[in-house]
Amino acid sequence: MGKSFPPLLPPQASTVAVEVDVLYALLVAILAFFTLLIAGLFLFFGVKYARKSEADRPIQVHPPMWLEIAWSVIPLLICVVLFVWGVALYFKIYTPPKDAITIHVVGKRWMWKIQHMSGAREINELHVPLGVPVRLLLTSEDVIHAFSLPAFRVKRDVIPGTMTTMWFNATKTGEFHLFCAEYCGTKHSEMNGKVVVMEKDAYQRWLAGPNAGLPPAVQGARLFEELNCISCHRNGAEQRGPVLEGLFGKPVLLKGGGTVVADDTYIRESIVNPTAKTVNGFESLMPVYLSQLSEEQVNALLAYVRDTLGKEEAPKASPKPAAGLPGSAASPKPSESKGR
């Protein structure tokens, strides 16, 4: 791109980009229509009824009710349309499909540390396959950042102490901007890089290339032993913690009432901050790992619990109710699924 006059839209490189742009076009049309209408009328009346002489008297017009109603209701209707459309698009942009592949992203002043499930790592670059939905799990080691990919029209704040998610499905190969969009200190504007969209096989080759490393789930399995998690989460008579096999994605009954789904955010929280939510039928004995684990280690444990243990069957003869719910095939509480 030279220094010629820039285009008006960023590249459309994801499945949602076009949809966002269509809505944008509608909004621009509304903007243009009302601005021209009102500013135009203002000028028109201003000129047409400009005072010509001192004797020029205004003619008092009494506002007709229908007019007041019309110009309240018409904007309201427009707003309803925008609102519904906006909400639908929001859920679309933020709801990852089930078959999405997962990539871990850790924000730290001032870099993005990215790890693929194959173990490949990179910094300030994100390689992704074309046409495959990609889900990013975002955590921060220090302050709030935001992971922004304008070409994909997606962005999400990266907040310390919790895990946020976003996803996209790239439709164009090439390199696109990656920015940190939430102010995070001195080098906020240098906390950027690029996202590289590659054909699937090129991506596979890249994964195996020089950036390759130990898969986080394997790393997590090691940590699980080193940190002695297994002492409490191993199937056996003296087990003190709940069974983690088959836990991922299942509803968990909590002490004091309430259910949560064991998603990434919940499992992450269970590891770093176990006293926040206690599984029903258990004491909160688990040590607080909050300040002892780096975000990468937490991600490794998470990958292990999610991808390795999560795919295993819960053992039949577990001493305490597995994952908190008897017969954990039970569907989530209706009130929670209704929101969709």
């Binding site: 220094k3 839209l9 009302f34 400009a50 001192e54 007041e68 698009l89 907040i159 901007h177 901050n273």
Partner: protein, 550 residues
């Protein structure tokens, strides 16, 4: 020219509030709302200049993609200081504390605000708060962004956050006291016969604003207390390591700061209502709709703060609620815009300087408000949040709406405040320069924003240079537009033509007394028998001729 001879008795040689005592103490210990308004005018102009200088630095830095003019640290301090000065110490107080202070008692026909001493106290509080903030900004700087988000502000920033937090906390009480004063004055001090629905819309707007000030400002005050405790003693409210949630700060912050944007725009809207009806010599179209829409904005404005949190960890369901309510709060603004325009219909329009500013307000606020709808649309905001699109949106509403309204009001009531007329030519030129320069500065930023340029960026990719250069060029025009009034208005104080009591032939009570008004506003308490903007029954001789009263 025909001086309106029976407009108000000519108290030419009589004492007015400026001349009756000129000692320094008489200014610093004054309880006269008109003098306090002038104290505010001077201080607020000073802070605007500081903010403007920082804006200039920001725009110069952004001329080139590389971060070469300022260091990254200093750039961050520059936009933060710009935002803090402009919002907390310029735009929030400017219309209420200057024009409102001067005019609300005059418009309701009272001798003063209900609590004159508290009014003076509020100015001192404001100065102490502003002093803390200026101290923070000028020594060691402040680099958190005006939004002061933790954990950056609480645990990471090396700058003078605590001072700035103290400044915002203290200045908040100035705002609260002003609000309390207006509420009591509007309820209890109206002249005989001045019923609610005879009040000028300026008063309605200030009443609505006062409600926001009293109900909202304390929340920012306590938020600053929590942030201060967090930063100084590590209380941990927003510290994830202690189980705190940084997003809670954002809730608390925006619970005030969204309503605060209506503190900035509502009074300006009140100004616009006065100007439009005066210069088209019509009762404002749909008076009661415009009055009620101010209240509606004030109330609904409290329920939408979460639209700043769409991309955080805020629940999507709560987001839906916030989005819906945000659209709802746009409706009263729409009602105002349509009624203002309709007021001109079959009117008798004179394009004096204030009217030019009013037109500028209409054009720019519309664009600002309508781009607010882009941001309120949840799916759209994901892409736009924290980009230059937002920066552009809020400059359109705040500078294009708020500052334009203020400039219009200042030019409208300048003859009343100082007793002098200013230059017709230069003021019109300034209005047009501001309008043109403004669009030139900020329109390119919408495009930049949609292209994805994040805000608070010291350096940026090369392909965005063209638009940034345009923006900086526009900003220089804008700066000239703002410096001009400083010159010709100052000039007018000393050398301007003496203003008659009612130079524009307007109807409000403030025009029934001399220019400048006597110390106690009215020689006898006015009695009101007509509705506001009753131009039909105004004698013809009070109608200004085209070209004004000079």
């Amino acid at each position: 020219m025909s001086t309106p001879n029976h407009a108000a008795p000519q108290y030419q040689e009589e004492e007015n509030y400026l001349t009756h005592d000129t000692s320094i103490q008489s200014w610093l210990l004054t309880r006269d709302h008109k003098r306090i308004a002038l104290l505010y005018l001077l201080s607020v102009t000073f802070f605007f200049t500081i903010g403007g200088v920082f804006a200039t630095l920001v725009r110069i830095e952004l001329l080139t993609p590389a971060g070469d003019f300022l260091s990254a640290e200093f750039y961050n301090q520059a936009f933060t200081s710009h935002g803090v000065m402009m919002i907390f110490f310029f735009l929030i107080p400017v219309v209420p504390a200057v024009l409102g202070n001067f005019l609300v008692p005059l418009m309701v026909g009272a001798k003063d605000l209900a609590f004159p001493r508290i009014n003076l106290l509020s100015w001192y509080i404001f100065i102490v708060g502003a002093g803390c903030a200026v101290f923070a900004v000028l020594t060691g700087g402040l680099d958190t962004g005006w939004t002061l988000y933790p954990p950056y502000s609480s645990a990471y920033s090396q700058s003078r956050v605590t001072w700035a937090v103290a400044g915002v906390f203290i200045a908040g009480f100035a705002s609260i006291l002003t609000g309390v004063n207006f509420i009591a004055t509007v309820h209890r001090m109206r002249a005989p016969g001045l019923t609610w629905f005879r009040l000028p819309l300026f008063v309605w707007a200030h009443y609505a604003t006062s409600l926001v000030m009293v109900l909202g400002t304390p929340v920012i005050a306590i938020t600053m207390v929590l942030l201060g405790l967090e930063r100084v003693f590590g209380f941990g409210f927003f510290d994830p390591a202690k189980g705190g949630d940084p997003v809670l700060f954002q809730h608390l912050f925006w619970f005030y700061s969204h309503p605060a944007v209506y503190i900035m725009i509502l009074p300006a809207m009140g100004v616009i209502s006065e100007i439009i009806s005066t210069f088209s010599r019509q009762k404002l179209f749909g008076y009661s709709f415009v009055a009620m829409s101010s209240l509606a904005i004030a109330i609904l404005g409290f329920l939408v703060w979460g639209h700043h949190l769409f991309t955080t960890s805020q629940s999507a369901y709560t987001g839906i609620l916030f989005s819906a309510l945000t659209f709802l709060v746009a409706i009263p603004s729409a009602i105002k815009a349509f009624n203002w325009t309709a007021t001109l219909y079959k009117g008798s329009v004179v394009w004096e300087t204030p009217m030019l500013f009013a037109f500028g307000f209409m054009g720019l606020f519309l664009i600002g408000g309508l781009t607010g709808l882009f941001l309120a649309t949840m799916g759209m905001d994901i892409h736009l949040q924290d980009t230059y699109f937002v920066v552009s949106h809020f400059h359109y509403v705040m500078v294009g709406g708020g500052v334009m309204g203020y400039m219009g009001g200042l030019h409208f009531w300048w003859p009343k405040i100082t007793g002098r007329m200013y230059s017709q030519f230069w003021s019109k030129l300034s209005a047009m320069l501001i309008f043109a320069g403004f669009n030139f500065t900020f329109f390119p930023q919408f495009i930049l924003g949609y292209m994805g340029m994040p805000r608070r960026y010291h350096s940026y990719p090369e392909e965005w240079q063209v638009l940034n250069v345009m923006s900086t060029m526009g900003a220089s025009i804008l700066a000239i537009g703002y410096i001009l009034p400083g010159i010709y208005l100052t000039h007018s104080i000393f050398l301007g033509k003496k203003a008659p009591a009612n130079p524009w032939g307007a109807t409000g009570l403030e025009w029934k007394t001399s220019s400048p008004p006597p110390p106690h506003n009215f020689h006898e308490t006015p009695i009101v028998t007509t509705e506001a903007y009753d131009y039909q029954s105004l004698p013809l001789s009070e109608t200004p001729e085209p070209g004004g009263a000079r």
